[in-house]
């Protein structure tokens, strides 16, 4: 069993909501509300959920781009939750991020060469000649022609821009990359190219990924394990295969059933999930998904502490009486 590269326990990220003339704190948005996760070395953990469920906030919290309210983030056994910005530098060298929209995350006034050189300069890596060689190697690695070095982001197509974003994340030889919806903005035929690239890089460089996406099919394709997030909480985690073959939480089932299958002979009677994700500003008091489904047992869950339980090897689900079967519920609670 390889060691956990990243270990998150009971992480909470709450954003205060201010209002009124004195801008007093009126409440808080519980973007991430008690999340525990582990990523092993060389592993890809997929994180899926609908918009507003807190998955991007969780990704940013790992790099301390947003500050956690409580909980512990450990990278390679070291608690990084309270580190000062200067102390974070060596961590950020090892943990990098790729953002969804490369046209927004790349400075339009910097050439690709400058963009890739910047992290090397900040970290004082090598001399000018070595840096240039390394940038050339990076471009080659992500499948961009060597002449791209003098081009600017706008001269590239979406897929190529995302390759630049990936190259930049790779510049410092990281161990873990947080991929925040890296292919959502791309067309299908380009999306598959980028997914293949990510997989190749992982094998070659022994990278670990936290792969954040809303598209379950994409997540299944790349992930070893998948965590499903709903309204700031993880509701189910399992090996990718198990999760799709045998989803135990009602929300996971609903997500899988909602995806239109690209096969006209398999017209699936989709189970229509009513309503939408509730606002994290004013979440339901009990089971969040139970509330959305108008579940008869919802009243029971108000104020209930729900824990995660292992119902099959490496398959964890939250003990929510509205959302899991009675056997699973009993198996976890008793």
């Amino acid at each position: 069993m390889s060691q956990d590269l990243l270990h998150i326990s009971d992480l909470k990220v709450h954003f205060p909501v201010r209002g009124g003339i004195l801008s007093r704190t009126r409440g808080s948005v519980k973007a991430v509300d008690g999340v525990s996760l582990q990523i092993k070395e060389g592993e890809t953990l997929g994180l899926v959920g609908e918009s507003g469920c807190g998955k991007s906030t969780l990704g940013k919290a790992i790099l301390r781009l947003v500050d956690p309210t409580s909980g512990v983030i450990q990278y390679a056994g070291r608690n990084i939750t309270q580190l000062k910005p200067r102390q974070m530098l060596p961590i950020r060298e090892r943990v990098q991020m790729v953002f969804q929209d490369p046209s927004e995350s790349l400075d339009p006034r910097m050439s690709v060469g400058e963009l890739l050189m910047e992290p090397l300069v900040i970290y004082g890596k090598g001399n000018a000649v070595e840096r240039k060689q390394w940038v050339a190697a990076l471009l080659d690695r992500v499948g961009l022609p060597a002449k791209s070095i003098d081009k600017f982001p706008h001269e590239f197509s979406g897929g190529q821009r995302q390759r630049v974003g990936i190259a930049r994340a790779l510049a410092l030889n990281p161990k873990l990359i947080v991929l925040d919806e890296p292919v959502s903005a791309l067309d299908v035929s380009v999306q598959s190219q980028v997914l293949n690239l990510l997989r190749e890089l992982q094998v070659e460089l022994g990278l670990s990924y936290l792969f954040i996406a809303h598209d379950l099919a994409v997540v299944k394709h790349l992930s070893d394990r998948v965590a499903v997030m709903y309204l700031g909480k993880i509701v189910e985690t399992a090996h990718a295969q198990d999760l799709y073959k045998d989803p135990r939480h009602a929300y996971t089932k609903a997500l899988i059933d909602s995806i239109p299958v690209p096969d006209p002979t398999q017209k699936r009677e989709s189970v229509i999930v009513p309503g939408e994700v509730p606002s994290p500003l004013n979440p339901p008091a009990g089971s969040a998904f139970g509330h959305r489904m108008n579940h008869p047992k919802y009243e029971e869950t108000i104020g209930m502490e729900m824990m995660m339980g292992e119902i099959a090897p490496d398959h964890f689900v939250v003990a929510d009486p509205c959302c899991v079967s009675e056997e699973d519920y009993k198996a976890i609670v008793f």
């Binding site: 299908v188 035929s189 989709s270």
Partner: protein, 338 residues
């Protein structure tokens, strides 16, 4: 063979750019039968939205213009009718849903006002009756507490609710044709399935025809009767949906189908991909543009392939290199268990 509600013949739509006029839609012909849903698929920039906007004359003018072709709606060429008459058709007989409801709704007017405006623009009814109709439309599209929503502003509604309001506006004048331009792209999957379900249900009840523009082949498979595949401003393949997914004949269609990661398949170590990317619109060749993408040296860049019928209701842009007997992309069959 059923009757066509809309027929498009040799549509050419061009945009004026710094480098002269470029053709975003290059001799496109297809039709929409009465009561059917036709899917228009392709990657971004392939001209699918421009085709739709050409039908209802909503191109950004004067930069974008329909230069050639016929757009026959119930036998009448929409390019020849007066502006006043076209206004009656647009929003009246043809309803439109756009991708981003927040951008399509006016943020400073209440939902009720926007609905009443659309209704009274096309129908001679009193404000009070229009309001009643607005209420029944909101109920029909499944908005909870519709009376309260009439006085809500768009920002007070969620994305899914806003899209329902858009659908209500599009349906307000009982259109015969609904053009839905990426209606669910901005929505979450669970909400997407609600909206697609709603569109299909309304279509059945009202006997409407629908032109569904999307890049999502899953949506196409589940919601359409026929599919038109566009690539780089042209139609490369057209067939009944079941036929297209079972026997894609053009290499581009095969590549598209093969490259989607799918839930109903075992994960592959590597996804099949289409190499390269779509050429810039200013660099399009006259010949086969998919060959241009693949940089095929034996392709003639000046000879435009013709459209050939290869089976009943199945036509393909007949490029000898793209349409071959042996598929160039293996479209794997789904695994049956899940």
């Amino acid at each position: 063979m059923s009757e066509s509600l809309l027929e498009i013949h040799n549509l050419v739509t061009s945009f004026q750019t710094d480098r002269g006029w470029v053709r975003a839609v290059d001799r496109v012909s297809f039709d929409i039968p009465v009561g059917k849903t036709v899917g228009l698929v392709g990657e971004s920039g392939c001209g699918k939205s421009v085709t739709a906007m050409s039908i209802v004359d909503l191109l950004p003018k004067p930069a974008g213009q329909v230069l050639e072709g016929e757009i026959l709606f119930e036998g009448k060429d929409l390019r020849q009718v007066s502006d006043r008459e076209l206004q009656k058709v647009r929003g009246g007989q043809i309803g439109i849903i756009f991708q981003e409801p927040m951008a399509a709704l006016n943020p400073v007017h209440r939902i009720g006002k926007q609905l009443v405006e659309a209704i009274r623009l096309h129908q001679k009814i009193s404000h009070r009756n229009a309001l009643k109709k607005a209420l029944s439309l909101l109920t029909e599209v499944g908005i909870p507490a519709p009376e309260e929503r009439l006085s809500a502003y768009p920002h007070q509604l969620s994305g899914g609710m806003r899209q329902r309001v858009m659908i209500a506006i599009a349906l307000s004048c009982d259109p015969k044709l609904l053009i839905a331009d990426e209606p669910t792209t901005a929505l979450d999957v669970t909400v997407q399935s609600q909206i697609l379900d709603l569109i299909q249900k309304l279509q059945k009840e009202r006997g409407m025809s629908t032109l569904l523009i999307t890049h999502d082949l899953g949506v196409v498979a589940q919601c359409t009767d026929e599919v038109v595949v566009m690539y780089a401003g042209r139609i490369v393949e057209r067939a009944r949906t079941t036929e297209l997914f079972a026997h894609p004949r053009h290499a581009y269609t095969q590549g598209l189908l093969a490259s989607i990661p799918r839930l109903d398949r075992e994960p592959q170590t590597e996804l099949p991909t289409i190499p390269g990317q779509v050429a810039s619109i200013t660099d399009f060749v006259h010949g086969c543009r998919f060959c241009q993408r693949l940089e095929r040296e034996d392709a003639d860049p000046d000879e435009r392939p013709t459209i050939k019928n290869i089976a009943p209701m199945h036509s393909v842009e007949n490029c000898p290199l793209c349409v071959t007997l042996t598929p160039q992309y293996d479209v794997p069959r789904p695994v049956t268990h899940l």
